[in-house]
Amino acid sequence: MAEEPQYGIDPVTLEIIHGKLLAIVDEMGVVMQRTSMSPVIYEVLDFACGICTASAELVAQSNGITLFTGTFGTQLQSVIDAYAGDVHEGDIFVTNDPYYGGTHACDFAIIRPIFHEGDLLAWAVNVAHWVDVGGAVPGSLPPDATSIFQEGLRLSRLRLAVHDTLSPEILRIIRENVRLPDVAMGDLNAQIATVHIAEARLGEMLDRYGADVLREGFDALIDTAARRARAVIAALPDGSYRAQDVIDGDGVSDTPITVQVEVTISGESLAIDFTGCPPAAAGPINCGAGALHSAVKSVFKAMVAPHEPSNEGWFRPLTITAPRGTIFTAERPSPTGWYYEGSVHASELVWKALAPVLPQRFSAGSYSSLCVIYLSGHTPDGEEFIHIEPTHGGWGACSDGDGANAVISLTDGDTYNYSIELLEAKFPLRVRRYDFNTENGPGAGRYRGGYGVVRDYEVLVDGTTLTGSFGRNATAPWGIEGGFDGSANRFEVIEAATGRVTPYGRLGGRRLHRGDVVRIVTGGGGGWGPPDRRAPEAITADLRAELLSRDDARRLYGWQEAAQ
């Protein structure tokens, strides 16, 4: 064990300060949800709020999705590097640069330094997904983009406000370069409101506890988390664990992209090395180094402390190595719009390498991709509509039970599917089917993977356009310890006129006709353990539920029907 630092702060005050910090980031989240005008923010919770120390270490964070796990640190550091010695009370910074700790251009970070009697005490940070930031297509995410310049406005580490006065020039640049300027200004104001709330609440804490106690509290919280994380790592067997996986196409071509990782546990620390991964792809599934760090941290967090609030301390035992310019460390001008389709593979590599080491925290491979489709066009009344939906899918089996059916992928979190009744009342679409994908099914095993879904949309107006980008469209989710692989994701168009069926993995755009059906099929997760060890009752239960056919039961499990 590392030497335990001693703090003057008593454990009661520390715990109360901790509770208050969490209440502040919760309140920032509430303010964001209540004041944002974008469904992607108040419905999908595609934002995160946090407080960092003066030296850019996260102390408290709220998020509704995993995508933003600890992204603040690198982003904030890039601002600190750019403005060393030039940060003042009343400043607000803005940045959405994937090459400087950001994710994609749609994610805008608002950063506010908080001072106490002239000394920097902390930073309040808010990152939120804007519905449109300009670029080649509405929504700023062309699935076949080949450069960042098709993905909208990039504001790299700018000072947005001086003495609390927003720069009219920067606001004009934003307004003139996005498709929905009022919504953008609404979300910007909501973000600014959250960092002001953080400042006001920290001010109340300063009045009560003083700056010294607060600073000491921040350090103690971070150090305690670090000690806890080290204790978890120390209990794991030392060694190197490798994993390899395939990314199925980049949106421009279907060529498989092989990626790999080596995870080394040594004493109390854990090193993750992506050396050997290929250079950045032509298409937009690349991620920058900031997004890579977040992707790795989300799995590390799942391992060391899935239910504890996040702070930078948890990640102290973690080092990440990745050469520049790879698919996970893309640099200018590589596109990164669909970065989460790439970064989720970085998460899964680490997950795959560590699952056998710590089975009580991990499952086998899942359907992984957010499986997002866009259906857009005009209603019979001539009004424009756009339906954007991620699809739920099958997760991998666990070491002690079957995998989860139809839940959202790792990237998201508290994200709901769209109610069919709401959707049919709003869009010229009819859902014909929404049930488990039993055709391809999950990976067999002692414990089988969870089932994905099939969702059929009948298009009710001519000229509706379909766009989508599904990962794992060829390489199935991995099984573990003899469990079989699951099944791949795909979407397909079933033409009304001809009955012709065309399957897709990633699609830049296709116009559809009335009566055409878009079928979304998400994969089943990988299995855990050899199928011949599956309990007979579990096989019978799946047969009774009609999840498993008799043929498959015989083929996969050697099941034999009892003589009647």
Binding site: V12, T224, A302, N405, V407, F436
Partner: protein
Amino acid sequence: MIRLATDVGGTFTDLLGYDEATGRIFTAKSLTTPDDQSEGVLDTLRLATGDGGLRPDQVGFFVHGGTTVINAITERKGVRTALVTTRGFRDVLEIGRGNRPDLYNLRFHSPRPYVERALRLEVAERIDASGAVHVPLNEADVARAAQVLRAERVEAVAILFLNSYANPVHEAACARLLTEALPGVTICASHEVSGLWREYERANTAVLNAYVKPIIARYFERLETRLIDNAVRCAHYAMLSNGGVSSFAQAVESPLSLVESGPSGAVAGAARIGEFLGEPNVLSFDVGGTTAKCSVIVDGRPRIFDDYRMEWSRISPGYPVQVPVVDIVEIGAGGGSIARVDDFGALTVGPDSAGANPGPVCYGLGGAEPTVTDAKLLTGIIDPDSFAGGKITLRIDDARRAMAALGKRLGFGVEDTAQAVVLLAEASMINALKLVTIQRGYDPRDFTLMVTGGMGPLFAARLGRELRVRRVVIPPHAGIFSAWGMLAAKPRADLRKTWFSLLSPDAIPPLEAQVAAMRQDALDYFGRDRPESVTHALALQMRYRGQEHSVTTLVPGTLDAANITQEFHAAHRTAYSFALPDAAIEITGIHLIATLDNPVIGSPSVVADGLTLEGARRGSRKVWGAAGDGWADAGVYARDLMPPDAAVPGPALIEEATSTTLVLGGQAAWRDAHGLLIVEEAGGTAQRKGND
């Protein structure tokens, strides 16, 4: 006439009676009988009639609340239930919403559905979003389903067809066919229990309703027979989750409406206490053994959840159901919350709880880890000799030993450790109460804080000070306040329907027609011919065009487009802090709250004759942390003997049979003419800041 309430809780069943002629109060408490809760109810009745002197034939109003429904569901003790649904949608019930709130749990699973896949049967039929028939109901499919269900020996069948909220004709036809084909089987079509859209939530509602209906029908039948056998022959009412009551027969039809029966009694009571005080905005806080429950009453009305979810937590999506339930937020902090120091020196309080069994260390029932109750005992707030009316003698030495062991790991003495435990419990309550109000667009400073539950009054003063509420109120019988609140509830029906229209003058005539039809439904529900006996409140669900979420907007005035528009902008501003004055507005739903005019519990009045503060004083006790650090002398007073409006300065302890109220230094407390105990900052609560 005597008004009588019984409330079945997890551990105890409470009885509270109020004689309107004499003002006399009857109370009784006995152990809950989990196998048949009506036995425990009868036990309390026998206690009250025996020693208590209650005459059952004088009872003119009987109301019953309890946990029968929620227990049957959470303990999975309902009947074998099936679901018949639209072809292609068999798995909607199991897929649910697919959200994963437990973000970093890579082994997360959605909650298990209440109907297994083999009993989820599909039939061909389809209604579209406008209510038009797209595919007619295939009756042969229904007949085949009936055959399977007969062979499977199901006892209840729920029916969920897509878009039945827009046109229930197929569900109704299917229900008819299944009723004929399956005699004795409970059939529940989703449109009978909810007129709202969202297929998964409506399916869950129908399934859970069907799942408990046969059990609840038998339960109420037994209870009714026993009451009549014991001379309680007046009308019998059931406490609903919406803050109102219904007849037993109505409750049996829609048992899911009883899901939060007990807590809803406390909310009905809070609204009534607000009326006594002339305070329309009440923050109600009830502290029990394991959790604390918080509810907001605005303009005299309890809020109804838009999306109530059973068994929801921060890491579980729970089971959403579409029944009207008062908006209650529960947090894991109560009297039994356990204090621990972990390997890294961090002190935590809750959410683990010692509950009632083994309970806190001081109960002497085997509890070994110190709890919040032990901390309150060791800081002098609880008197070990008069706890629970003197029925249990608390073992202060055991509590001290356990607290000392905890303190040793922190380097603290016993009292400092105990005070730390109290401070942490209070800090989590304060954070939760702030968030509950802020999330709903309110400021705690605009509220009166009403604190109940046996443990509540011990915390009330500091919560009030930290939240800077207008004042703190502790009603009489705080320990059994849910039962008291049930006596303040009226027969009530919440009729909710998904209904679309762009808001414009043209929308008003069809809206009026729809509302008139719902008013008629309310009259039919109450079995009344005369509309004068029913009071209505109308709320509309509305949104700006393009938005997903609707905001419930109370429309008190006339049904005209201008008035509705204005009310919506204001409601939207409260909920989301902005309004879009130029945007088009859509109506998505109608919520009619119908209340039958019925007398409720009156305001008690304190008889002042001969009462003096000196007479109420029982000496003093040393309390740790009541005024600055360390021990302070606190005057001890008997609440029942305090003369009206005579203020006691803090630090003080005000004792009653079921609880003790702590008053901090700098505060004053008095009993008002209704018998309510009020605590305010001596200089006015709103002006004060910081702790003592």
